[in-house]
Amino acid sequence: MKVRILVSLKESVLDPQGQTVRNALHTLGYHQVKDVRQGKVFELELEGLNRQDAEKIIPEISDRVLANPIIEKFSWEIMEA
């Protein structure tokens, strides 16, 4: 089973990397870009789990290891079963 987990900084936390990208896009003329938030993508390949178990373990992994809950939030999707 393939899972994609997205980790990014919480809205309340300043994201200078995202801002730098936004500024760069503006200098290139893409003024339509209102905001950029930068994050990380993890692609996990899981085995020996049914969907229900997976849905339990993924947030656990994300909260415990992949994201730092003080500054980061995460979302995830199962890409293929």
């Binding site: 900084l9 936390v13 200078p16 992949l66 730092n68 003080i70």
Partner: protein, 258 residues
């Protein structure tokens, strides 16, 4: 003489430096503690050194906290043992939940290696007792993720409890935006836990402990620890006999002796 333990994680790279200063400059018994070990060898104080544990590939300090030795260190902390985290060590303490808050990338998005000035905000700790409140120390930093962050409620709690031990400042001790090079909230350079036995700091005191390298201000931290421990052990009487400085080898001992 006190016994210090310097933890070696894969990717630690200030382990030898810290070892060198504790043993050869401060004259204390010092041992390395391997990350896979389950034993703290009876040390009086644990130091988590700087470096890039596990390459810091996930987040700085994020993987090191799962090492076997960290379980022992948590127990040690719970029982009141002294723990000093320097740079990556500070990041590990944050990730491990032994200190509150988190680190963000430096505000200029670059690695920063330079001298900074820090002001002692609280000298009534085991880590700063040898200094004066308001004293300015000149100590270098070297990090990519040293921009300390705490949500507002936590921050006011830290301030209220006097947990902020060091702040970035200018030469004269003023807190300015320019002096706060990495953008830390409230210019925080070092903080202590509520119980007062775990301290994390981004600046490297071990790089400022010998005149030949430009500053001895970092010794204030090590001196504080030694004084505190001596006082605690020696029934309040400070030992007058200093340990003899052992011979220094120009080459660090090769790891392999754990």
């Amino acid at each position: 003489m006190m016994k210090f333990g310097v933890v070696v994680f894969p990717g630690s790279n200030c382990d030898y430096d810290t070892f060198h200063v504790l043993q050869n400059v401060m004259g204390q018994e010092t041992v390395f503690l391997w990350h896979k070990d389950h034993d703290l060898q009876g040390v009086d104080c644990v130091v988590l050194p700087g470096g890039f544990s596990y390459g810091d590939y996930l987040r700085s300090g994020a993987i090191a906290r799962f090492s076997p030795i960290m379980r022992e260190i948590k127990k040690f902390a719970d029982s009141g043992g002294l723990i000093l985290g320097i740079c990556n060590g500070f990041q590990i303490l944050l990730e491990a939940g032994l200190l509150p808050g988190a680190m963000l990338r430096n505000k200029n998005l670059k690695f920063l290696c330079q001298q900074v000035n820090i002001r002692i905000e609280n000298n009534r700790t085991a880590f700063s007792g040898a200094g004066k409140k308001g004293q300015v120390l000149r100590i270098p930093i070297a990090h990519f993720d040293g921009n300390y962050y705490a949500p507002p409620e936590l921050l006011s709690e830290l301030e209220k409890n006097n947990q902020i031990v060091f702040r970035y400042c200018d030469r004269k001790g003023q807190l300015t935006e320019e002096a706060n090079v990495n953008g830390s909230v409230n210019s925080i350079a070092g903080l202590i836990n509520r119980q007062g036995n775990v301290l994390g700091m981004m600046p490297h005191p071990e790089r400022a402990s010998e005149n030949i390298l430009g500053s001895e201000d970092g010794k204030v931290i090590f001196r504080s620890l030694i004084d505190y421990l001596e006082k605690k052990k020696g029934t309040g009487k400070k030992k007058t006999v200093r340990a003899v400085r052992p011979a220094v080898s120009p080459l660090p001992p090769l790891i392999g002796t754990f």
